[in-house]
């Protein structure tokens, strides 16, 4: 059996920022050869974003960029220059997949859009991903994931109670939904091409992909006119259901999340606390759902003095679903992530050694991994322009001089 699932797959990657690079990272970590095409003329904004090595900005010092571009190689070409386009077309026969994530007009301007590329390579599989898709009145509207998460409904279902102001999920949430959809489309299209010889064009709208994560609320609205809104941690299925404050750890608040699905679990939970005189108000699920404010106070009182981690172990041992509400530092010490082998230490050329998030799946036969740290800008110019395209040192120097390679 092969070592990596996608050995022998070649990807030319013009994508930048979030969704595009995260999608091609799936392929790279699973063995595909991915060549990023970048340029100082329009650097990937993540290359300039924190966290930085030693808190110092620099084009090769962003751990943010490095996290989403592992296992790839990088060349620099200023696509605005005709000679750069020629070099892209020389690389094209090598590629099985082309990926990009600019606003739709960019590649058209450089005549590197799907119609131009397929004239040179009819069976290319090409992925374009942008905020709202390649067509429609808002196709050219730029943006970022925080805005797409608001537009696709996540902010409105985040808050403490109906009518309360939104408390959005952290960060560019939809940037972490769309890549899984884009990767599926790409992988299936790649196999379809292998079977039929037919390439194709894939248009992923970050917005449209993200809407799949609120699908039940949309089905409901279209059917009944009901609009799902914020409601804190209240659930129609579980009571109690939420986060409850445990004993603080130094100056850090500590919370435990727990959910009770039935009366047996409720009794199991009470047993962990030595069967306190639970007042009869909470005996059944219906009763607990009926008076959730009082229920939350009662449960809050039970857990308040406990240490969240040991309480989790005790609750889980009794068959109660619970876990500490972990902060970003906790994740680095989490025994379950550790056991899964989630964290990978990589020694980056400019940033040295630090931990990176690994894959969220494991192919037991052909496991992927972070095969190499993210490339520095243009790190593989000589290797690819010289080795793959056969340019000699003088030609490469000339291209650098003319800022074609830039």
């Amino acid at each position: 059996m092969r070592r990596y699932a996608l050995e022998g797959v070649h990807v030319l990657d013009f994508a930048w920022v979030g969704v595009g690079p995260i999608t091609t990272k799936y392929l790279a970590d699973n063995g595909a050869d991915v060549i990023r095409v970048e340029s100082l003329a329009r650097p990937d904004v993540l290359r300039l974003a924190p966290p930085w090595k030693d808190a110092q900005p620099g084009i090769n010092s962003s751990q943010f960029f490095a996290s989403y571009n592992t296992s790839k190689k990088a060349i620099t070409l200023d696509l605005g220059k005709p000679r750069a386009r020629e070099l892209v077309l020389k690389l094209l026969p090598w590629a099985d997949v082309v990926a990009e994530s600019f606003t739709p007009k960019a590649l058209r301007k450089w005549e590197l859009d799907y119609d131009h590329l397929r004239a040179h390579k009819p069976d290319i599989v090409m992925l374009s991903t942008c905020m709202q898709g390649q067509t429609g009145p808002n196709a050219m509207y730029p943006g970022y994931g925080q805005l797409m998460a608001a537009l696709s409904g996540f902010y409105h279902i985040s808050g403490y109670s109906p009518g309360a102001p939104p408390c959005p999920p952290y960060g560019a949430y939809s940037d972490f939904i769309a890549p899984r959809f884009a990767a599926c489309a790409l992988l299936a299209a790649l196999d379809y091409r292998r079977r039929t010889g037919r390439g194709q064009y894939i248009d992923v709208s970050q917005y449209e992909a993200a809407l799949h994560n609120i699908a039940p609320a949309l089905v409901d609205y279209f059917a009944s006119g009901r609009v799902l809104g914020p409601r804190g941690n209240r659930s129609e299925r579980y009571a109690p259901h939420g986060a409850y404050r445990c004993a603080d750890q130094g100056s850090e608040e500590r919370w435990i999340a727990l959910a009770i699905a039935n009366d047996d679990e409720w009794l199991a939970m009470l047993s962990v606390f030595g069967n306190p005189p639970a007042d009869g108000r909470f005996a059944t699920m219906a009763m607990r759902i009926e008076d959730r404010t009082a229920l939350d106070e009662f449960v809050g009182g039970l857990v308040r003095g406990f240490e969240a981690r040991s309480l989790t172990a005790a609750l889980q041992a009794a068959g109660v679903s619970a876990y500490p509400v972990q902060n970003c530092l906790d994740l680095h010490h989490d025994e379950n992530l550790e056991a899964f082998g989630f964290w990978h230490w990589l020694d980056h050329k400019a940033m040295g050694s630090s931990p990176y998030e690994g894959l969220q799946h494991r192919l037991t036969g052909t496991p992927g991994e972070l095969r190499s740290p993210a490339p520095t800008l243009g790190e593989h110019n000589d290797e690819i322009l010289g080795g793959m395209l056969g340019l000699d040192a003088a030609e490469i120097a000339q291209l650098k001089e003319e800022q074609v390679v830039f």
Partner: protein
């Protein structure tokens, strides 16, 4: 029409809400997805709310959304006959996805090793809340608990109040989509070499991945992010992310920077100036260099500017509706978005122009339902939902008789014995 993309491939779907989206995505891509349900039906049929608030195994909105396009058979995996039937189905399938507690499938003789003997081509994908090796492999993990374990909950909500999850639990959806990716990752070499494999998806890790790399902050910058309500919490500065308007909220992060950032800030300031909401200092500001709190440390001066700008923008937006603001922002290329409700999304012109939503006839409910459409537009093999969610055991005959060739008498006997 069913998509050609994965047509001819079959998936057995034994996943609950920890993996339901996986089979849904496969069905959208044209695979034959057979949901294998226990006698009382999959637990996802009982997830509230229900269509018209009428609780019933065919009316869960979750099920209607995430079982669309799947077929349904009932199988009692507790009986030897039921397990034998599953093995027969495995012979005719390419993928299996399950989310039982780790070890359960093995304990009833349906673990990967056994099924791979029956069908070496099988890709067997297990979704596990806390993996299969750590102490958490035995943990009970309802969605909010996995959400908490992976980090986003800590960063959602107001200071001094409990951490939050969204009104629609998200952890299982991330895991389900990851299961689809990983299954297709294993599919590629399988189609070349003829050998399947076992795939494990770690749900907690899937949730961690949504943190936008903030996990690196404590390592690289010495501290972690704490939740801050409607503010984007960054180390050293808080930036307002949500603004109230006449009929709801608008989201934007007021930062300049190169390219679209500076165009957006200039556009917003010009618009505010026209309406008398801009301050003098804003007129000649170099917005290209103005990215405090995000790309640069916020100095005292920046803090004054941030507060003044955010307050003025708040007063300005309060004079208009979501739609008025968004429409104008689109034409001026100001980067913002309405905090959209389901009603806003249903009315969105962009989605309409792209024919996004799909109406699917549910003759069983005497109505049509509208679902999110294709998650990607593919030029040669369009994808998207084409069939409604199945009734419980709706395809028993089709699958057991037509696919497996079991005759009527034997089916009757299996039914009587409680295997089906």
């Amino acid at each position: 029409m069913t998509s050609e993309l994965l047509s001819g491939f079959r998936m057995l779907d034994l996943a609950d809400e920890k993996g339901a989206l996986c089979g849904k995505m496969f069905a959208d891509m044209g695979a034959d997805v057979i949901k294998v349900e226990p006698r009382g039906g999959c637990s996802t049929r009982r997830i509230p709310p229900f269509l018209d608030d009428l609780p019933n195994e065919d009316r869960s909105l979750y099920f209607l959304a995430y079982a669309a396009g799947k077929r349904s058979v009932t199988l009692n995996l507790g009986s030897p006959d039921g397990r034998a039937l599953l093995a027969d189905l495995v012979r005719k399938s390419d993928f299996l996805v399950e989310s039982f507690p780790p070890g359960y499938m093995g304990s009833i003789g349906l673990g990967y090793d056994h099924l791979a003997e029956i069908n070496p081509r099988l890709i067997y994908t297990s979704v596990m809340p806390f993996g299969d090796k750590g102490p958490g492999s035995a943990y009970k993990a309802y969605d909010i608990v996995t959400w908490a374990s992976g980090g986003p909950m800590f960063m959602m909500g107001e200071q001094g109040k409990p951490p939050l999850e969204m009104s629609l639990p998200q952890a299982g959806l991330h895991a389900g989509a990851e299961a689809a990716v990983a299954s297709l990752m294993a599919h590629y070499p399988r189609e070349i070499e003829g050998v399947g494999q076992r795939v494990v998806v770690d749900m907690q890790a899937c949730v961690v991945w949504t943190l936008m790399n903030e996990q690196a902050m404590p390592i690289m910058h010495g501290d972690h992010i704490r939740r801050d309500g409607m503010y984007h919490a960054a180390i050293g500065a808080r930036r307002k992310l949500v603004y109230a308007c006449k009929d709801g909220y608008i989201s934007t992060l007021l930062i300049g920077g190169r390219g679209v950032g500076v165009i957006s800030m200039k556009g917003l300031v010009a618009w505010m100036a026209e309406k008398g909401f801009a301050a003098e200092w804003m007129a000649n500001k170099d917005w290209t260099a103005w990215v405090p709190g995000i790309l640069m440390k916020a100095t005292e001066e920046y803090f004054r500017e941030i507060v003044d700008l955010e307050e003025r923008v708040q007063r300005f937006f309060a004079t208009m509706t979501k739609r008025e603001i968004y429409t104008e922002a689109l034409s001026r290329r100001i980067l913002l978005a309405p905090v959209a409700t389901a009603a806003d999304i249903a009315a969105d012109d962009q989605l309409k122009a792209r024919d996004y939503f799909v109406r699917i006839d549910h003759e069983t409910l005497n109505r049509a339902l509208t679902l999110p459409g294709a998650f990607a537009k593919l030029s040669a093999t369009p994808i998207g939902p084409v069939r409604r969610a199945p009734r419980l055991g709706e395809h028993n005959h089709e699958v057991f008789h037509e696919l497996l060739g079991i005759d009527g008498a034997r089916l009757g006997a299996l039914r009587a014995a409680g295997a089906i």
